[in-house]
């Protein structure tokens, strides 16, 4: 793994992104970049286009204009599957876990792209397929250990409280060993203690695994604490971009959050 956390080169560059749904402009001419190993936050009031932005990166939406450069490759019409293959993992605002499956199985699905054995061997659950399964299981157990969820390993996800589900979802995203992790409001709906835990996990992931993190978060305090750089959206436009301190001092940001009329 990486030697500590040294913020590196730009690995994701978004250039002049515009996204429309019919006549509605969701994003207008947005550019920003993400550097390797950093924690990058996207903030903004409700309806600012934060989730749309994440969906663009992850290939759910295809922007009408603009260019996405990920690790030197241009990616404007990448779909979700290709994004996942390229090393972009994500979590969802409303938790999209496989509810009927156990925690272990959920995280195992996250290893899907890493598994190589072919259909026939897999069907027979034999030889290399079984060995591979065991190797991946070990990796998944490390994640379970990392997130301290051993006690719910065999519990169906639907039975877990919200905060733990969020943690499992993070686990599933981590299982893919992504180079970029997109977190859509990882702390929404959590109590103070759960938020603290989640912060700790996010920072640990960033620090120990060197994973680059892009996150959307409502809780300003949290964002300012854990991010290296923050981009602020309002009404689908970028109004500020910089370190937490710079952003905090920016008059446009203050106005946007206090609801000054445009």
């Amino acid at each position: 793994m990486s030697e500590g956390r040294q913020i590196g080169e730009v690995i994701l560059d978004l250039k002049n992104i515009s996204l429309r749904f019919g006549g509605v402009k969701a994003l207008t001419d947005i550019s920003f970049d993400v550097r390797e190993h950093e924690v990058r936050a996207i903030i903004g009031p409700n309806g600012a286009g934060k989730s749309s932005m994440l969906n663009v990166i992850n290939g759910v939406y295809r922007p009408q204009e603009g260019d996405i450069v990920f690790r030197g490759k241009h990616h404007r019409d990448m779909n979700t599957y290709e994004a996942a293959k390229a090393g972009i993992a994500r979590t969802f605002q409303n938790i999209a876990l496989f509810k009927g499956m156990t925690v272990l199985d959920n995280i195992m699905t996250g290893r899907n792209l890493k598994m190589k054995s072919n259909f026939l061997l897999d069907a027979l659950y034999w030889g290399p397929a079984q060995r591979e399964e065991i190797a991946h299981r070990r990796k998944v157990e490390e994640i379970i250990d990392f997130l301290e969820i051993q006690h719910i390993r065999k519990t169906p996800v639907a039975r877990l409280p919200y905060g733990l589900q969020k943690r499992v979802e993070l686990g599933r995203a981590l299982a893919a060993e992504p180079s970029i992790l997109l977190l859509d409001e990882p702390m929404a709906g959590m109590n103070v203690e759960e938020k603290q835990d989640m912060c700790r996990f996010i920072l640990d992931v960033n620090d120990q695994l060197g994973t680059t993190i892009v996150l959307i978060e409502h809780d300003m305090g949290v964002v300012m604490d854990i991010s290296d750089r923050v981009v602020v959206l309002d009404y689908g436009k970028k109004i500020a971009d910089g370190t937490p301190d710079e952003v905090r001092a920016n008059q446009d940001v203050i106005d946007a959050y206090l609801g000054v009329a445009h």
Partner: protein
């Protein structure tokens, strides 16, 4: 039993370890669940690990007479660290891992700790924060390196790295460690366990190898524990019970200890391991039972009815069958059927399928709770002991189980009751001294060599010890009869509807009591009867609730009447308090023990009312809310008489 003969000649724990490594090198000694898989270390592997750790410690400068702090959850390497320290003639000092910093600092200072072995980053951080207050502390060793990569203090060492150092040291000086082990003597201090101490600062209890080996030996022989037993090690390592069961007895009998994956997984891990030997405080047994009951309430009607029917059968004859007493053929048959359908599956869910012997201690256990486990075929027994006596004073022998005694004195232990009713103990299991506290040592060990336990009790007609209270709390009624408030309060608290009770009676004619109802249980009870209430104060003063509590009190009285020593302590009058006793209002200690003196002072007016025979009394009390605000609660409290019974024991005698 040639093995036993040889065992008894092994006078220190490191020698026991070497013995097992020779006699049963491939027998599992320690297991730990890590990354979802149970890892096993055999006795010879453990001996190697300990050797590496001890040599590594020696390399760092750990010497004979040094104390080694051990802080963390139950981890194999923390258990091994105890052997490692002992090999070098040092003394392991396990600390409670969840202790607040101030308590930890006190022990670190008091024991003059230079070396500490801790579990993980959390504990390292705790120590680093308080380094300035512990000038003696020179080295911190950690088990789990996670999160510690960026810590570059020179005095921090990973155990891996220390063990590697030790292996090299051992290659260069292969004779060194065995020489050190040979220097160990039976009356060297083997471990120092700090007592939490209800009053004053904690004291370090120094126990010798000889004492703990004696305690382990008597326990193992008493219950025929052998190398094939298994125990789940999940209670704090700093607690004497865990030290006796998971360290001393395992080292003596050579059985396997199993470390759970984490505190949250104990239930699952227990099911997977299926221990044959188990120890838990009453609180754990109670939680397990509650979980079972909740699950049964949610189950389908068929299952629920079957459960209740067979639990009825078990109540009738389960405990008797376990004790080998005569039981009718029909009951035997029904019990066998119940075992197939209910008790067996239930034991399996609880992870108790393979338990041969289970113990509980540390607090009074409710008779219903106790009976429940015995009736489903779990051989649950009680024991009595203290940190100062290696937790081994009295044990209940199989087949002679009583719900309210702790059994006869263990082999080799002498127990005497002094004139004031205090329990005195003498024998090999006694402490050597309190660390650097000759005053305290002199105070608790008298000229005849008896240790004063501070507990009050008496022997019943079968020679079983019955513990009733802390000696300092025991008083006398005006009639001269013994008054043991704790005993009465516990009896009342065993009813699920009663949460707290405070008994008064010292130097009075009769016993009276304050009651706190259990909001959950009574609230539920009221709802099922369609009794509307607006909150605790309102519910507590309902006539129906008073009647409910009166029944409980009278039942307790009936039981007290059976006891010659305590029949005068029946509760004549009681009232239900208008507010819940709360540690925030200083009415309870943080560990939820009632502060009788404080309460008596605060509610003096209520006590006067109880003894003056009034029917009700107005009271207003200031309370602190959770957010720190203050408010007042007031109510007109009713006072109720409870029926008392003539002493049964006296009748028998007449």
């Amino acid at each position: 039993m040639s093995d036993n003969v040889r065992l008894s000649s092994l006078s220190t724990f490191p020698r026991l370890l070497k013995h097992h490594a020779q006699v049963r090198p491939n027998h599992p000694a320690t297991r730990e669940k890590d990354l979802g898989i149970w890892q096993t270390w055999t006795w010879s592997q453990v001996a190697e690990e300990v050797r590496a750790m001890a040599c590594g410690l020696a390399e760092l400068g750990f010497k004979r007479g040094d104390n080694l702090a051990i802080i963390g959850d139950n981890r194999p390497r923390l258990y091994w660290a105890m052997y490692a320290a002992q090999c070098l003639g040092g003394v392991p000092v396990p600390l409670y891992q969840d202790a607040v910093a101030a308590e930890m600092v006190f022990v670190l200072q008091d024991a003059g700790i230079k070396f500490a072995i801790v579990e993980d980053q959390e504990q390292v951080d705790k120590l680093l924060e308080n380094m300035s207050q512990c000038p003696d502390l020179q080295h911190i060793l950690y088990d789990d390196p996670r999160g510690l990569r960026h810590y570059n203090q020179a005095f921090l060492h990973g155990l891996d790295e220390v063990q590697e150092m030790g292996r090299i040291h051992n290659r260069n000086h292969p004779e060194f460690l065995d020489g050190e082990i040979e220097l160990g003597k039976s009356d060297d201090v083997a471990v120092m366990l700090y007592t939490s101490g209800t009053t004053g600062k904690p004291k370090g209890v120094c126990q010798t190898h000889g004492a703990f080996i004696a305690a382990a030996q008597s326990g193992c022989e008493f219950d025929k524990l052998g190398p094939d037993d298994n125990i789940l090690s999940y209670l704090p390592m700093a607690w004497v019970g865990d030290h006796l069961f998971s360290f001393a007895q395992a080292a003596y009998a050579g059985f396997t200890i199993n470390c759970p994956e984490s505190g949250d997984t104990v239930m699952t891990d227990m099911r997977e391991i299926g221990p044959s030997y188990y120890f838990a405080p009453p609180r754990v047994f109670e939680n397990l039972l509650t979980q079972v009951m909740i699950r049964m309430e949610d189950a389908g009607a068929l299952k629920r009815n079957m459960f209740h029917y067979f639990m009825g059968v078990a109540r009738r004859c389960g405990a008797e069958i376990l004790d080998g007493k005569p039981v009718s053929g029909t009951d035997r048959l029904l019990y066998a059927l119940g075992n197939l359908l209910v008790y067996g599956p239930l034991r399996n869910v609880l992870g108790m399928s393979r338990i041969r012997v289970a113990y509980t201690a540390g607090a009074a256990i409710g008779p219903d709770l106790f009976r429940f486990y015995r009736s489903i075929g779990v051989n649950l027994k009680q024991l009595y002991g203290a940190t100062e006596t290696c937790a081994a004073v009295c044990l209940q022998p199989d087949g002679q189980i009583k719900f309210d005694t702790v059994g006869p004195p263990a082999p080799g232990v002498e127990v005497k009751i002094d004139d004031s009713g205090e329990v005195l103990v003498r024998g090999a299991v006694m402490l050597k001294e309190y660390y650097k506290r000759p005053d305290a040592t002199a105070e608790s060990i008298d000229a005849q060599g008896y240790f004063h336990t501070g507990d009050a009790g008496f022997f019943d007609e079968d020679g079983h010890l019955k513990i009733i209270d802390r000696a300092k709390d025991v008083g006398k009624l005006a009639s001269g009869a013994m008054f043991a408030p704790n005993y009465i309060e516990n009896k009342l608290k065993f009813f699920s509807h009663i949460k707290e009770a405070v008994a008064f009676g010292d130097r009075k004619d009769e016993v009276c009591a304050f009651i706190n109802i259990d909001m959950g249980a009574v609230g539920n009870w009221a709802e099922r009867r369609n009794i509307a209430y607006s909150g605790y104060t309102d519910l507590a003063q309902k006539t129906e609730v008073y009647e409910l509590i009166r029944e409980c009190v009278e039942q307790a009285n009936a039981e007290l009447a059976h006891d010659a020593m305590l029949s005068d302590s029946q509760v004549h009058r009681f009232l239900i308090l208008h507010k819940e006793l709360d540690p925030d209002d200083d009415e309870l200690t943080r560990t939820r023990k009632v502060r009788r003196g404080f309460i008596a002072e605060k509610y003096g007016v209520l006590i006067d009312a109880l003894y003056s025979g009034k029917a009700s009394q107005f009271i207003e009390t200031e309370v602190k809310f959770e957010d720190g605000r203050k408010g007042k609660v007031s109510a007109d409290l009713r006072i109720m008489e409870a029926k008392t019974f003539p002493s049964q024991a006296a009748k028998k005698a007449a």
